[in-house]
């Protein structure tokens, strides 16, 4: 066998091994990436909140899990946050204000709801954050970072807004890290037809 041919076989072998190695669960999730504007939100199973009031808010049934697309709202704002993230802590009052704006302005057929996903946070840690900032909307723990990995390991906070179209299909209309600015302006922008 010529040297060139042997080298080629070796390269093919390396590529196969790399493909097998990188195709494992961790990398597979990391490659999924954050959904951009115009894309769909991945159908990740999120742990359903235990509090009946939070379940009612989301409009989900009695299941153990739910997906973002099951939330009963025309626009769902998903905040990827962490109790340990200083920017998320600073942003908490603004996100609460968005909730208040939505509660005031929501009308049938024009509703916005919010939920948070605590990247790497246990239920206890999510609860510390909820109590500290009197968060009025559901915060879902993601202790093993599995949701965070599926969403491309975004920096926190990262806001993703998913809007329901006239045909019932849902598309991402906003996906950005950092502050969304004024809650009133953000609400208006998201609810525009």
């Amino acid at each position: 066998m010529g040297l060139h041919k042997r080298f080629s076989i070796y390269i093919v072998f390396l590529a196969a091994v790399l493909a097998a190695g990188l195709g494992g669960p961790g990398w597979g999730r990391a490659e999924s990436g954050v959904p951009g504007v115009g894309q769909t939100f991945p159908p990740i199973a999120l742990e359903a909140p235990k509090e009946p009031a939070m379940r009612t808010y989301l409009g989900i049934g009695d299941g153990q899990t739910f997906t973002v697309n099951q939330v009963d709202a025309d626009v769902v704002v998903v905040e990827i946050f962490s109790m340990y993230c200083p920017h998320c802590q600073r942003e908490a009052p603004t996100v609460n204000a968005l909730y208040e704006v939505a509660q005031k302005k929501n009308r049938p057929g024009k509703t916005l709801k919010i939920l948070g996903v605590g990247a790497g946070n246990s239920p206890f840690e999510v609860d510390v954050f909820a109590k500290k900032y009197s968060v009025p909307f559901p915060l879902i723990p993601d202790g093993d970072y599995s949701v965070h990995k599926t969403l491309g390991q975004v920096r926190t906070p990262h806001f993703i807004a998913v809007k329901r179209g006239a045909d019932g299909s849902r598309k991402v209309v906003y996906s950005q890290a950092g502050s969304f600015g004024s809650p009133e302006d953000f609400y208006r922008r998201l609810m525009e037809p």
């Binding site: 990398w27 840690e125 970072y145 965070h148 920096r155 926190t156």
Partner: protein, 206 residues
């Protein structure tokens, strides 16, 4: 013989590459937007790289260290008054460390409920720790610099790694000055807050 060698060369290459993939997937953290573009990512590290020199039940070795607020803090100043939680973190401006103390920053009342003070310690110098904690928006607990003699306190407790940074370690010391809990955590992961509080809860029991 030559064929055998070739076989093992290919096998070892495969094992090495698969190992790389595994190491990447075993580490997870979330970086706050507050630190955008400012975090140095060292990649996965050896989980623990030191040998403890103290045990649960030992009197905690005393130390005096400068803090970012300018005052010196001595461990024994809390003896008879407060439980003490020592939180060693490896290095400023790195991924897991940057999202550890800011979490403790919103849990002041939880530490106080257990009559505990928290002391953050790293081997970075005071100016670096000052800049880093300012980026977090400031912290309520003292942040101490174990920079000079380099890592002396970390070395005394047995949590100084071979590359000169400390482990990510938690020591809980009771009001008598006795070590009651030690967690030399995997450096790549953050110890959960409830683990610390659960151990503080135990100090309440007679």
């Amino acid at each position: 013989m030559k064929r055998n060698l070739k076989f093992w060369f290919w096998v070892m290459t495969a094992v090495g590459l698969l190992g790389l993939g595994g190491a990447g997937s075993g580490t997870a953290w979330a970086v706050s937007e507050a630190f955008r573009g400012k975090i140095y990512v060292p990649g996965p590290l050896k989980p623990v790289d030191s040998e403890l020199k103290v045990r649960v039940g030992d009197p905690a070795p005393d130390f005096v260290l400068p803090s970012v607020s300018g005052e010196k803090v001595q461990l024994s100043q809390f003896k008879g008054r407060k439980n003490v939680v020592l939180s060693f973190v490896p290095a400023a401006w790195t991924p897991v460390c940057s999202d550890q103390w800011p979490g403790y920053n919103i849990a002041k009342d939880l530490f106080e409920a257990y009559d505990a003070v928290l002391l953050g310690i790293s081997v970075d110098n005071v100016p670096t720790l000052f800049a880093w904690t300012q980026e977090m928006g400031g912290l309520w607990f003292p942040v101490l610099s174990d920079f000079w003699p380099h890592g002396a306190v970390a070395a005394r407790y047995g949590v100084l790694r071979s590359d000169g940074v400390s482990e990510r370690a938690i020591f809980i010391i009771d009001k008598e000055g006795v070590i009651r809990y030690i967690d030399v955590h995997d450096i790549n992961q953050r110890p959960p807050l409830e683990g610390i509080l659960k151990e503080l809860e135990k100090l309440r029991k007679p």
